[in-house]
């Protein structure tokens, strides 16, 4: 179980190291514009093959890369309805504060829970291997966070129910 998580993260890490080869590339269609090509997808010669890495039916990671930008979309494991709601709310909370994260995308790609957009400017300002460490660390921590949230919701629910039902004893 832990081994399969380790293999999944290793695979994503090596794919990211290979895919994060970004350089500045001004827009070909419009003068003096510089847009992340992976978002526009207008010129096929600027895009590389997108790669989908699945750990199982529930968890997957889509890595799309282009000449000046890279988009990573994650789908997090959601075992039941409660985890579904918690994940949605928690990741929405993070996405709304995308400015602070810099590499986070405000809306996840269709079919995924959260997306990152890394451009050549990020690679120039920040170190490539640190960016990759951040993404992999994020993936490890998200599972722990959601379990913690779920446990605290269950604990609180149990306490409230116990208190409320005491009056009927």
């Amino acid at each position: 179980m832990a081994n399969s998580l380790r293999l999944y993260l290793t695979c994503i890490r090596s794919t990211l190291e290979a895919a994060m080869c970004l350089q500045n590339f001004p827009c070909q269609e419009v003068e003096r514009h510089n847009k992340p090509e992976v978002e526009l997808q207008t010129s096929p010669e600027l895009l590389l093959n997108p790669v989908l890495i699945c750990r199982n039916e529930a968890e997957k990671c889509l890595i799309e890369t282009s000449i000046n930008s890279l988009r990573i979309s994650l789908k997090v494991k959601q075992a039941d309805e409660l985890e579904n709601i918690l994940t949605k709310k928690f990741l929405r909370f993070l996405s709304m504060r995308a400015e602070a994260f810099q590499v986070l995308r405000r809306k996840p790609v269709q079919g995924y829970d959260i997306s990152f957009l890394i451009t050549n400017y990020h690679c120039e300002e920040m170190q490539k291997h640190k960016l990759i460490d951040f993404i992999v660390q994020f993936m490890e921590d998200i599972d722990k966070e959601i379990s913690e949230l779920k446990m605290s919701v269950n604990t609180r629910g149990r306490l409230v129910a116990a208190e409320f039902l005491k009056q009927f004893i």
Partner: protein, 135 residues
């Protein structure tokens, strides 16, 4: 003219699919003799290079998938597999990882880790960058 090319493509596709079926029978035979590495080599060589036909690609993928799932001993695999097969194997591994089926993904992740150690990041980059010969 383009109609004629379409016709040639279809003929070629039939020929390729027949070849793939021959290959599958050979692979089954090799697997029965417990030679998974040989089976994988047979599956990987003659991968349809330039055909756009989805059926050929799917047919070849099924054969390669069968060979990949039969592999148990990874050290033995990399000891005997020639480096020229690393790139094409990596492409098929990514195709396996995109299926989402748990045992396939487990096996592909295991082989991917070892293959990256052997072949390096260049193998992955070639896999991402090759938009012409996709599997």
């Amino acid at each position: 003219m383009s109609g004629k090319e379409g016709f040639v493509e279809a003929d070629n596709a039939e020929a390729i699919i027949t070849r793939i079926e021959h290959k599958s029978r050979k692979i089954e035979a090799l697997l029965k003799q417990s030679k998974p590495v040989e089976a994988l080599k047979t599956a990987l060589e003659g991968s349809p290079p330039n055909t756009r036909d989805e059926r050929c690609k799917s047919a070849n993928w099924i054969a390669v998938h069968r060979a990949i799932m039969a592999i148990r001993d990874l050290d033995g695999l990399f000891a005997s597999l020639d480096p020229e097969y690393y790139d094409i194997l990596m492409k098929y591994l990514y195709r396996g990882l995109s299926t989402g089926d748990r045992p396939t993904c487990d096996q592909c992740l295991r082989i991917h880790e070892r293959l990256t150690e052997r072949a390096g990041l260049g193998c992955i980059v070639r896999c991402l960058a090759d938009t012409i010969n996709t599997v």
